[in-house]
Amino acid sequence: MSATPSASPLVRLVNRLSGAGSGHPPPEDGPTRRGFLAGMAVAGSALATKPFDFVLKPVSAYASVCGSGASCAEGWSVFCCTINNGQNACPPNSFLAGWWKADNSSFCGGTARYYLDCNAACPTTCTCYCPTGTCDNRRTCCNQFRYGQCHQEIACAGPVVCRVISCVPPWQVDSTCTTVSATDNATASHTAPCVDSSVPPLTNLEPSMLVQHPDGHFELFDVVAGALVQNWQGGGVWSGWRTLDRTHNYVKVRGALTGHDGNIVVVVAATDGDWQFYYDQVGHKWHGPGTL
């Protein structure tokens, strides 16, 4: 990316949001926005992607981590991360065969939470069992059921191996999935420890910002317990939330911007000290004056 901040429409938008030119000086102890943008041309720094630390819960509370319908006897399908080495993705020899959603999910910032079934590929040797070891003791390879919106070019599907979780609409996760919606709010509380470990409690939902790139995929920003958090995986399955910054006491997310090419997203977050901080998706950060 060339360093032409004064000509960039993106920067003009940032200026507008930040109130640049209003006479407020930048703080003396940090980089300026202009300095940062110049730096973007020559260097990139990796975003700290360490996920939220999972708060270990006492054993007595552990069972509640998995939500309702978590026992083998209750007959629901297990989460993929429980049986797939922690990965929120279809295991080998399975494919996304359909999806449903639960509305207004606290796991997705109050928006819809999507459940994508991975069904066994045919012919299958998949055998029915319930994994023990966590409270997500739901079933794998037991339920011969297909939602049917994904991979409709495949007529044959074995039983559901597991469920992938996403806050992103399924057709943005896998282009073979259609946008035909199925709803089952009875599953809204279903979850697993490996899912919860990447989903912090969202305590400041109102100012959360969802940004849609020109290519259709989303990023979500929010403030959680004073930290600025982001949910993004470049258009693939969202693996969960990650912390952008904990070094300031953030109050709200004021806005978020996308560039024409979709490669840059800048989130504008306000702290309790009337300063605004700007982040892009590759970890650059700068700040300037602003008001809540």
Binding site: P9, L10, L13, L17, G69, A73, E74, G75, W76, S77, W100, K101, D103, N104, T111, A112, C128, R139, C142, N143, Q144, F145, R146, Y147, G148, Q149, Q152, E153, I154, A155, P159, P169, W171, T178, T179, V180, S181, A182, T183, D184, N185, A186, T187, M209, L210, V211, Q212, P214, F218, G255, A256, L257, T258, G259, H260
Partner: protein, 170 residues
């Protein structure tokens, strides 16, 4: 009792009830451009989601809160109960391998039902699921028996309802 909505019509035997509905689609989001692109998702999902007709037919009182494939309803079924779901997909599904079978099956047999063919296994119950195209419309048919042991009496009832159910072209 007769129901006719969304291009699906059915005649139900005494003691049956049904709903033919179509969920409200999420509201359209504002156009996105270079302007600050805040997108607020509504309670029903994301922009772009589409909904199509769903028919729920049952020989018991249907709860108003139901999943599209019957969760909430199947949970209260007794051994003599029967639940039929017709779920429609978009026109882009017509002609795909999954929906290649033509015509809704109306002559099911007990052997087609399995305790594993359920959205989530409920002890004693059995299900049957198939995908098909009728009148150039793509559907899934999902039938749940309250008890597999009751299949000899329940499956003929299901066939009676399916025979009395028609799909009109769009």
């Amino acid at each position: 009792m007769q129901l006719d909505s969304q291009g699906i019509a059915t005649t139900l035997p005494p003691g049956w009830e049904g709903r033919i509905t179509r969920r409200e689609a999420p509201a359209a989001a504002p156009a996105l451009g270079l302007a600050p692109s805040r997108v607020t998702l509504g309670p029903s999902g994301a922009t772009g989601e589409r909904t199509f007709p769903i028919a729920h037919l049952a020989n018991f009182a249907l709860p108003e809160e139901r999943g599209d494939f019957g969760s909430g309803a199947v949970d209260i079924m007794g051994p003599g109960n029967l639940f039929v779901c017709l779920f429609e997909y978009g026109p882009e599904s017509v002609g795909t391998a999954l929906f290649a079978p033509q015509g809704m099956p109306r002559s099911l047999t007990p052997s087609q039902f399995s305790p594993r063919a359920l959205q989530h296994v409920i002890p004693g119950q059995a299900g049957f699921q198939t995908f098909f195209t009728e009148q150039n419309r793509a559907f899934c048919l999902f039938v749940v028996l309250g008890a597999l042991a009751s299949a000899p009496t329940l499956v003929p009832s299901a066939n009676q309802v399916l025979t009395g159910t028609t799909v009109q072209p769009r």
